[in-house]
Amino acid sequence: MEVSKIIEIIAFITGICVFHSIRPPFLKLLIPLLLVTIFVENYLIIVFDANFVYNIYSLIDMGVWFYLFYCILTRKKIRVLIIIAATICFSYALIELLYLRSWTLWRADSFRIYNLSIILFATLYFYEINKKEYHNIFIDPLFWISSACFLFHLLFFFNNTIMGQLFFWKLSNAKIVFVILQATANIVYYFLLCIGLIVCFYKSRLEQVKY
């Protein structure tokens, strides 16, 4: 089993263990998302066409993350920006799937727009916490989750970009490079999600001691 898949399962188990301590509550949505991811990556892509499965799964993933960032970023203007970005991403994804490509081809272009949106939202969260006079990031699960998104989508954007270049696939060992980069992105992502979930638990314990 690949390392990234093991970390993915560890992240899910961590999520289950700390489920009751997850604050803010909207982060609990990560647990069903992780469950769906595990199901997709360990079963569905083996049984069905991988691109078809990932195309559908990516729409769910997109919806969840847009919702989570809508809850994380509370400023009105940013929320409007999230709604606009979500509309553009979903529209472009459906156009790409229905007209430009097909359900059995990976929708790299619309996914790059989604990558950029998430990078932007994560950066906006960093900006928000950087503006504060005091903010302890070690007890802020949202920081770790935003970091996970920032790093994962940055590398995924790079991967999606090289994936779209025909010359890249003609290069020797192209597939190995792609797989290694993607695995690295996954490892970083699930590792930071794990930290975020553990921080939730740690924070709730601290609050219990406080009161």
């Binding site: 960093f126 916490i129 950087n130 006079e133 005091y134 903010h135 302890n136 990031i137 970091s147 920032f150 790093l151 940055l154 590398l155 790079f158 991967n159 090289i162 890249f168 003609k170 290069l171 020797s172 060992n173 192209a174 490079v177 290694i180 980069l181 690295t184 992105a185 970083v188």
Partner: protein, 262 residues
């Protein structure tokens, strides 16, 4: 030959793409790391500034309290050494005048008695304002004396209940005494109460002090922070405690929570 060159270039390009990918993740990770380090540095600086601010405010409050105590001490000395002496002189002159009269009018006798009472009241008041005198006694004893004095001279009935010993330093006892004095003064001035209840209780290493009255309660004007209330709050903060004013069905209540000496 051509094929060999193409394969060599391809491997170099693959390596470049891989290196670019890893460089990207390294730079991004380092950026996040740098963000964490900077944020922690700013947090540390902020905490240091806050600690300095708290320390400065504490010193400022301490100085204010010391100045107030010095003023009260001077006032106490002035009451005892000047006004009390004047009253004694007035009483002496009155008594001298009595000897020259064959029949002393009853109102003059009453005036003499009033002067004696005033002198006694001033002496007691002078003592209550005197810091040195207060430091020799504990707050309970002091409060009992103060309540006894006020019950003798005032219309309002004062009631003291609760513990008979408090675990606070002399300095804190003095501060607490001044807070209670201020609260009592507020009650007598504004509440139109018939009774004032003062209680001191212990609760989990905390001292709970309540000063309640059965008067007209807190009006909207009185809820605003006046000088007296601000002084009470600052003195309580100086002792690391908290103070609140609560409206009751009849009257109002000042509630203080102070951490006892461990």
């Amino acid at each position: 030959m051509f094929l060999q060159v193409q394969t060599g270039t391809g491997q170099i390009l693959t390596s470049v793409v891989a290196a670019a990918g890893f460089l990207l993740i390294i730079i991004a990770t380092l950026s996040v790391g740098q963000f964490i380090v900077n944020r922690q540095k700013r947090n540390k600086l902020y905490l240091q500034q806050e600690a300095m601010k708290v320390n400065f405010e504490k010193q400022l409050l301490q100085s204010r309290v010391e100045v107030q105590e010095a003023t009260l001490h001077t006032l106490s000395m002035e009451l005892h050494d000047n006004i009390n002496q004047l009253l004694s002189s007035a009483n002496y002159l009155l008594r001298s005048g009595f000897r020259e009269l064959e029949v002393v009018p009853s109102n003059l006798i009453e005036a003499g008695e009033t002067i004696v009472k005033a002198s006694s009241a001033i002496r007691t008041l002078s003592r209550s304002l005197n810091k040195e005198w207060l430091e020799k006694f504990d707050i309970i004893e002091k409060l009992e004396g103060e309540i006894d004095r006020m019950n003798r001279f005032g219309k309002i009935k004062f009631h003291l209940s609760g513990i008979d010993q408090v675990n606070l330093s002399n300095e804190k006892q003095l501060l607490l005494f001044r807070i209670i004095q201020e609260a009592i003064q507020n009650c007598t001035k504004h509440s139109k109460a018939a009774n004032i209840f003062i209680s001191l209780l212990k609760e989990d290493h905390n001292l709970i002090i309540t000063i309640a009255d059965d008067g007209i309660g807190i009006g909207p004007k009185l809820q605003k922070d006046g000088m007296g209330m601000m002084n009470m709050r600052q003195r309580t903060q100086l002792m690391g405690g908290s103070i609140e004013w609560n409206a009751k069905a009849k009257g109002c209540e000042v509630r203080l929570v102070l951490p006892e000496n461990q």
